[in-house]
Symmetry: C2
Subunit: 217 residues, 2 copies
């Protein structure tokens, strides 16, 4: 039933939903659930069921016509979206936020591992209690290349964020999660960045609420 799929381009929003769905399925599986319907997924993701079915249909090999087997669906998504290729990540900036992100249970799903932390401050390298290896910034290139790390997390202060991002890219990093309150400009299409821009979130909510009030009238 597997069809020729390699030329199908999945819309970016669909990729985002499927990536999230994957984590959802992981959680449900851990709770002991084995089967799920598109309507149920839709409710959990806050999206209509036909959107879910369409998203899954881009993968061209999921269905049995009667709900989805969670473990199978999970594997299809992981395989198709390439979740098993880039498991290792590193983090730059071992301040309080860096600490929380790398230790707080459940923040990154169990298929990813943040295996290396970097900081300029030798004090922080000593005082941080963690399972991962800690290095000074000077080791960035060496470690990233040796471990073949493709994903980097930025938790440094505002003024150095841009430089760190470009350093990471120079070292071969292809995906960045940026927590610093700075927008990072990237001029190449082979590097992807996700800005977790908390100040902006307040504004976005404020705007949505306000638009809603306005259009209601």
């Amino acid at each position: 039933m597997k069809k020729d799929v390699d030329k199908v381009i999945i819309p970016k929003p669909a990729i985002v939903r499927l990536s999230t769905l994957y984590v959802l399925l992981e959680n449900l599986e851990q709770e002991g659930k084995t089967k799920i319907f598109s309507a149920e997924i839709g409710k959990l993701l806050g999206v209509p069921s036909h959107t879910i079915r369409k998203d899954i249909s881009f993968l061209r090999q999921a269905g049995t016509g009667n709900g989805y087997e969670i473990s199978i669906l999970k594997n299809i998504i992981a395989e198709y979206l390439g979740f098993n290729k880039y498991k290792k990540a590193c983090i730059v900036g071992m301040g309080r936020l860096g600490n929380v992100i790398t230790t707080k249970n459940g923040f990154y799903s169990n298929q990813y591992a943040v295996i290396a932390g970097f900081d300029n401050n030798p004090e922080k390298l000593k005082s941080t209690r963690t399972d991962m290896d800690l290095y000074p910034m000077a080791k960035l290139k060496e470690v990233i290349e040796r471990e073949n790390i493709k994903i980097g997390i930025i938790t440094v202060p505002q003024d150095s964020a841009r430089k760190v991002a470009h350093d990471l890219i120079d070292c071969g990093i292809k995906g960045i999660i940026n927590f610093s309150p700075v927008l990072i400009e990237i001029n190449r299409d082979d590097v992807f960045i996700r800005n977790i821009f908390i100040a902006g979130e307040f504004n976005i909510l404020s705007a949505f609420i306000s638009q809603y009030e306005k259009n209601k009238l």
Copy 2:
């Protein structure tokens, strides 16, 4: 030059971009910059210049034909998107993440204030060092209504996140920033939620990288 604008519906992605642009303009203004061009904004936001011009044109009152005066543009965006209406926020869950978010400088722009923190654990209410007022969960409704808070942040563990979200909505909260690794289902169109779903971000990057590699071939 102000035109009738109240019926124009701004696309959601444009609202998101403009909200982010606002924070960017705040930063640039602090650095002493007073004027900017659409091409420059585009570079900083990672978006083509015509998208920026189009976004700004939805506001129907920005331009002089020769770049933008930062302070004026800022005010127009803030006024049009209603940034000055909902300044107060509260946070539920005073664990480590809650602490980092409410104290780390620069995380929320200076027009918003997280004025109240809630937690179930009386220990945490005592031990947390912060400027905001701390309360037990039982005070949720009282405080939110008294202070007329419309935005809530969720930093509680996974298992209580959904309940907290619905409690917040029952108390009149209209916008939620959810940091817990749980997707929250909301069945009403007057409440907006932004999920900061870190585990999902890894998958999203992984998928983008992998799609890129695949399509390159």
